[in-house]
């Protein structure tokens, strides 16, 4: 194990902050690693559902990272994948139950996609690649960073789709009736899956141009 007797690190040391900020931009789970695409397409018709989904994924990811990290020395390596899966599944079902109890309408709109967080590659990926080798605090930062990295992409796509496709922003109408009377029409394509693909593609392009990261 790598964490034997290292000099004590500050909670927000440069290295830790890097763990947090990296997945938000240059190592983004969606635009760089291209994980979690299925849900990114499905829940981004409206900003409200995208926001709830982003929060759900971030909380599951952070909690699962902490749990796995705390147990990392005790988890027998033979059954580590199934243990990770059990932890993630338990957390996801908890989130689903809470949504059903307190945010019923949104949970209906998200339908199966909350349950499908279990199979979201980002979560298992972070547990396996990061939390198993690292202490709890960096794992929290890694979870939060990846969750937010996933979340902001979701929100940007949802914003584009909701404004162009439904003419609303978080459910509030943006365009006055006179616009529609003058012949303006909502873009139906944006409500459908291809709209999400196009926006996502553009985002990947923009993001990779800025951070100059190229997939080998």
């Amino acid at each position: 194990m790598s964490d034997v007797k290292q000099p004590k690190e500050g909670l927000f040391s440069k290295k830790n902050m890097k763990i947090f900020t990296n997945p938000i931009s240059e190592n983004n789970p969606i635009t760089f690693q291209v994980l979690g695409i299925c849900s990114a397409l499905a829940v981004t018709v409206q900003m409200r559902t995208a926001l709830v989904m982003a929060l759900a994924v971030t909380s599951v990811l952070t909690l699962s990272n902490v749990t796995i990290s705390l147990l990392r020395k005790r988890i027998p390596s033979k059954i580590r994948i199934i243990v990770e899966l059990a932890v993630v599944a338990t957390l996801v079902i908890l989130v689903d139950q809470i949504l059903k109890a307190f945010l019923f309408d949104i949970s209906k709109q998200l339908s199966v996609f909350v349950g499908l967080i279990i199979t979201n590659c980002i979560i298992m990926g972070r547990a396996e690649a990061f939390a198993l080798q690292n202490k709890p605090w960096p794992s929290v930062l890694d979870g939060l960073g990846n969750g937010l990295g996933y979340g902001w992409i979701l929100m940007v796509i949802a914003m584009g789709r909701e404004i162009l496709g439904s003419g609303t922003f978080l459910g509030f109408s943006l365009f006055p009736e006179s616009f529609y009377a003058a012949g303006y029409e909502n873009m139906g394509l944006m409500v459908l899956a291809p709209g999400a693909f196009i926006l996502l593609g553009l985002l990947v392009w923009v993001q990779r141009t800025i951070t100059k990261t190229v997939h080998e």
Binding site: A42, K73, R74, I75, P76, S77, K78, I79, I82, V83, A86, V87, A89, T90, I93, L94, Q97, I98, K100, A101, F102, F104, D105, K108, S111, V112, F113, T168, G171, S173, A193
Partner: protein, 244 residues
């Protein structure tokens, strides 16, 4: 570090127990809230089927739903002969025991029945679909259909709960001029391509990619409408008697 087999078993057992205790307690604690939400959702959909819907992009608050429901909807239970059974509400029916008793809702205004709402449910492709159908007092013309609970494929089968699909049922007829039940069938593709114009009253367009979901709906809709036919006959006979 290698762990022994005994340790691995112990660890797996502990994880299982901790997870199941957590989930079981969460489910028990949250159950009351979820049941209440589901009841509200049912009421909201009964209201929607008779055309009481919030404006586009808005939603009713819990209180509004309760109030509108109380003001507009009366609940009944009928038996398989079409007679109203007194002293029991739809909420008290046990679907397993009361096989010959069916819930029925009426939209009333100043004591006048405006529409009849019946629950429809049955198997789709993956899941049981639940919904409501509202009929005019002629017991023939559909006022509205809502599907509110199902587990069909998102984007394909789940399109049955969109208004662009359910809206098609509006104005269709469940029986022919002589009162014989024909139900309403979802066709594959468009109605105008495969059905003669004079029969189009009994058909709606299908959803591409959701043929099997549609087939499920066709089957249970007809089955459920049959259960209520004795009641429809009673209502119509009563109407005729009143007219004479």
């Amino acid at each position: 570090m290698q762990h022994s087999n005994a340790y691995t078993y112990r660890f797996a057992a502990t994880v299982t127990i901790v997870c199941s205790v957590l989930l079981a307690s969460a489910a028990t604690l949250l159950k009351p809230y979820q049941t209440q939400n589901e009841l509200l959702d049912v009421r909201k959909n009964i209201l929607a089927s008779v055309g009481i819907k919030p404006e586009e992009g808005k939603t009713f608050s819990h209180k509004q739903v309760e109030k509108l429901y109380k003001e507009n909807i009366k609940e009944f239970v009928i038996d398989d002969k079409g007679e109203v059974v007194d002293g029991i509400t739809p909420g008290e029916l046990d679907p397993k025991k009361d096989k010959n008793r069916f819930p029925l809702y009426e939209k009333q205004k100043d004591g006048q029945v405006e529409s009849i709402v019946l629950p429809i449910s049955g198997k789709g492709l993956w899941s049981t679909i639940y919904g409501y159908m509202a009929l005019n007092t002629d017991c023939r013309t559909v006022i509205g259909v809502e599907f509110y609970k199902h587990g069909e494929t998102p984007g394909l089968g789940s399109e049955i709960s969109t208004s662009s699909f359910t809206g098609q049922y509006k104005g269709k007829k469940i029986s022919d001029e002589n009162g014989k039940l024909v139900s309403i069938t979802i066709v594959k593709g468009k109605v105008k391509d495969s059905i003669a114009d004079e029969d189009a009253w009994h058909y709606v367009d299908g959803i591409s990619g959701a043929t099997l979901t549609g087939r499920g709906i066709n089957i249970f809709l007809e089955k459920d409408l049959k259960k209520y036919t004795p009641f429809f006959e009673k209502v119509l006979a009563q109407k005729e008697a009143d007219n004479e």
